[in-house]
Symmetry: C2
Subunit: 185 residues, 2 copies
């Protein structure tokens, strides 16, 4: 497209050789992805013809639901990806239903936070879980969101608890594809 | 990238031959674009090497600020682009400041609607102005939004009034690039 575009795009490459080794793949909702041994993030638009594996693309965007008070709270504990002591990662691509996307902003916000407490729940874990949300739907990709988490093996149990809590909330009734990849470095 | 992506992208092509003939170009904020004689919308990702003119790209996305009550009101009068009797068009690419994008959802919504009444003002004009918002920022493009309007020559004055009202509102203090192209068919 052009170089500004190519640098805005983030490519998630599932293949057989890379930094993050896949330890578990669980297809929780919808169609599976081909099994891969490694997953890596490349901060550019990768045009690969993979014989096996896959490339999923997304971009980082502005906040869509968070209010100022919540952002202040989140920012207190948030750490960027790439903390050297975080030796575990999770890649969870998600797709929500057409019903979700036909809701208006106030309706989505209510389900996301007032009903499901997505921000409130997550903020308790940010001291030891780094995360980054990537938007994929507006690129015509198979998932709406590519979510990536990093944490230390010492906090695996807490990360499971976070996933469990978010998945049983009202918001998850709108999730129609959910694949959970766990990795180690 | 891939065919799903190519079909999600909408390309705005400024050149010297096309359906919509440019009658006026006014650079209101920021850097101008090269002068062109026509502007057309192509519902795909056009990879052209233009000798002159330009191609700007964007996508249509979900609603970002509108609540249910407002959407119900907007939908009452909204008509899609392409009404045969609408012989005038406006293409207004816009870029907002970094300050705008660092605001949280509640802060942007307050400026957009509670302070500037963007939706409330616009809804009065939808009976005779068709419009489509296209998002461009997440593609690393030079503008954040590519806005397109169509109306009949009988309502040119009302369209000027709409533009005037939106531009003098609080929201416009965050607009750092604003080029106003007017066209006829």
């Amino acid at each position: 497209m052009d170089s500004a575009f190519d640098q805005k795009i983030i490519s998630f490459v599932g293949s057989n050789e890379g930094l993050w080794k896949v330890s578990k793949i669980e297809t929780r909702e919808g169609e599976a992805l081909p099994t891969v041994k490694t997953i890596d993030i490349h901060k550019k638009n990768i045009e690969t013809d993979l014989n096996e594996g896959w490339v999923l693309k997304a971009f980082i965007s502005n906040l869509r639901y968070t209010n100022r008070e919540e952002k202040t709270e989140l920012d207190k504990n948030s750490k960027p990806l790439g903390q050297p002591e975080y030796d575990r990662a999770a890649f969870i691509p998600l797709k929500k239903s057409d019903e979700w996307w036909s809701l208006t902003q106030d309706e989505r916000r209510k389900i996301f936070e007032e009903d499901s407490k997505h921000i409130q729940v997550s903020s308790k874990y940010l001291a030891y879980v780094s995360r980054q949300l990537h938007h994929s739907r507006d690129l015509g990709q198979p998932f709406d969101f590519l979510t990536w988490f990093e944490y230390s093996s010492a906090h695996e149990e807490q990360f499971e608890e976070l996933c469990y809590t978010l998945r049983k909330a009202e918001e998850w009734k709108y999730v129609i594809r959910d694949i959970d990849f766990r990795m180690y470095k």
